[in-house]
């Protein structure tokens, strides 16, 4: 069934969009990531203009993370205080990110920058997660247990001032690292059109050493607010939010996310991380290929007035 999208100004099969939304929503619920790092490239591959893909994706992530947050909230798996600190950083970061986005776009370098940022972040994080989870899986097979949380570890993080007690996460750490993580994620969210969960979840696990069971709920909670902000900014500044497209994606997405959350509970933590790492590396490889492969047309034509 073909449907015309009023802002994207193209006609596309509605079931393709529903299916895309469902598949990415499932992964979103499973891993606690917004799914934007998959959905944005997939939308562009289906012919949606990149700017509309980024703007609309923000709206869709709002809906998916809303239903995800509710599921985690009921299991008391959200550290509100931590989420608040992350959000404060995220709001500042996404505002800065929008300014960088506009500057890069007027220079015609935004596509390149987005791809480079994806390749860099996905590559590093995917590799780190993969080695860590493979090591954990091997250890579990050998009959040893590896503590997911090492409470005794005293790194540089514990030497920072502004210490706060995060009761739900059973942490007593400085507020500076979560603020910075929130800000970095906010910048990336605005520039890359993603929620930023794929950066935040590993950062919370490996840097802040939060218990894995509250990480997903807390990151979704922060993503919810940062993407809501990003969506409103994209709509206001660029008019690139297509609600018809968003509705189709999220109709599939919210349902997929619910199943994802449930399946996620049945899988073991290290297997989940290995799967996510694999996915992250696959997307990274695809984007890296796009950077070095000779394009079909060395010229690109876009509608719009100059810088």
């Amino acid at each position: 069934m073909q449907i015309y999208l009023p802002i994207a100004e193209i006609s596309i099969n509605a079931f393709v969009l529903l299916g895309l939304g469902g598949a990415v929503g499932f992964l979103s619920g499973l891993f606690g990531v917004g799914g934007g790092f998959l959905m944005t490239p997939l939308l562009i591959f289906t012919g949606i203009p990149p700017a509309v893909a980024v703007g609309t994706e923000a709206v869709q992530i709002v809906a998916t993370s809303m239903s995800g947050v509710m599921a985690h909230w009921r299991r008391n798996a959200v550290d509100l205080k931590m989420a608040g600190v992350l959000l404060a950083g995220g709001a500042a970061g996404s505002a800065a990110g929008v300014l960088v986005f506009r500057a890069l776009r007027s220079e015609g370098q935004i596509d390149l920058f987005i791809s480079l940022a994806y390749v860099l972040f996905l590559g590093v994080i995917g590799a780190l997660m993969m080695t860590e989870s493979v090591r954990a899986i091997r250890a579990a097979r050998a009959g040893r247990t590896v503590a997911a949380k090492r409470p005794g570890t005293h790194g540089w993080i514990h030497g920072l001032p502004l210490k706060m007690r995060f009761r739900r996460s059973r942490l007593y750490i400085s507020a500076i690292p979560p603020l910075l993580i929130g800000a970095v994620v906010g910048v990336l969210a605005a520039i890359m059109g993603v929620g930023g969960g794929f950066i935040m979840v590993p950062a919370m696990i490996y840097l802040l050493r939060m218990p894995t069971n509250v990480v997903v709920g807390t990151s979704l909670f922060q993503i919810l607010f940062v993407t809501a902000l990003a969506a409103i900014m994209h709509a206001t500044l660029n008019q690139t939010v297509d609600v018809v497209l968003a509705m189709l994606l999220l109709a599939g997405g919210v349902i997929g996310a619910q199943f994802g959350v449930r399946v996620g509970h049945r899988l073991r933590g290290e297997q989940l991380r290995a799967l996510l790492a694999l996915l992250v590396l696959a997307v990274c490889a695809r984007l890296a290929w796009g950077l070095v492969a000779t394009p079909d047309d060395l010229f690109s034509v876009t509608i719009g007035a100059g810088a």
Binding site: P6, M66, S300, V301, I303
Partner: protein
């Protein structure tokens, strides 16, 4: 199918009446406010076409003059038809050629050129075009090269080969040829620019018709369809008619909402997303 039926009926009606000038005049008024470049051409051709051709005149009409883009829009087929009023019955049809050009709303373009830098393809150079047609479709009775010399077509801006993007450029230097080719390539790929030699067919001695495919990504705005009558390698007459492509229904509402009050549109979109997420979260509540 309904569209086809209407087209068929109106085509038959045209065959009887062969006059459709009043409709063109009615449509010219709303279009004039939208774009400057194209309407100037239309205004004067409408008035003078009949007189200047020395007895031989061309009239035309479209199956639709207002195309509404609704949520099930997948493109449209526009039927263009008209009549060449011959001065006498002995003029052979083959000495006459008809070329129809449909020009879409003009919009600015940025063309960027990529080069390999350190293994990665990077946009290095850019050129701007202040006003390029968003849609440009040329249909003709024969290949343009067989009809007249390139200079004739260049003067009237007929055909992709002579399409000029330099009209409103600031710099005196014309757009480099490879950039121009890039625009033609990109727009042709999107099916927005096309040449269809042989697409105009004569039905009988004086009646002609052509079908023009409008793709789903056709830009909204005001269009002008111009029919040129060529005799002995020169333009002997022309006539223009306006066409408006607009969104309608829910799509029109959403588009206007997003364009006119973007902040509230954004807030509404987020609220809608929150509601959808909340509904899903409630429906799929874990036991």
């Amino acid at each position: 199918m309904i569209r086809g039926a209407i087209a068929a009926v109106s085509f038959a009606w045209c065959a009887l009446a062969a006059i459709a000038t009043t409709a063109a005049a009615q449509d010219a008024a709303p279009a004039a406010t939208e774009t400057g470049t194209e309407t100037e051409a239309a205004a004067d051709t409408d008035a003078v076409a009949q007189e200047q051709t020395g007895g031989e005149a061309v009239v035309l009409d479209l199956s639709e003059k207002l195309i509404a883009i609704t949520s099930n829009f997948t493109g449209a087929r526009l039927l263009l038809f008209g009549n060449v009023e011959a001065p006498d019955t002995v003029t052979p049809a083959l000495q006459r050629d008809v070329v129809a050009v449909v020009r879409g709303p003009y919009e600015p373009l940025i063309i960027r050129h990529k080069q390999r830098m350190g293994g990665v393809w990077v946009n290095t150079d850019a050129e701007e075009v202040p006003a390029a047609p968003g849609f440009y479709h040329v249909s003709s009775t024969r290949p343009l090269a067989d009809i007249a010399a390139p200079e004739v077509f260049a003067e009237a801006q007929i055909g992709l080969a002579v399409l000029d993007f330099d009209a409103e450029r600031d710099s005196a230097i014309p757009l480099p040829a490879d950039y121009k080719q890039a625009v033609l390539r990109a727009k042709t790929r999107e099916e927005l620019y096309a040449e269809a030699p042989g697409a105009i067919t004569f039905v009988g001695a004086s009646l002609f018709r052509a079908e023009i495919a409008l793709p789903a990504n056709v830009p909204v705005g005001s269009y002008i369809a111009t029919v040129y009558l060529l005799r002995d390698g020169a333009i002997a007459g022309q006539r223009s008619i306006n066409l408006i492509i607009n969104k309608s229904g829910l799509d029109r509402f959403l588009y206007n909402f997003a364009q006119k009050t973007p902040f509230f549109y954004g807030v509404a979109a987020v609220l809608m997303a929150l509601l959808a997420g909340w509904i899903a979260g409630t429906v799929f509540r874990e036991r």
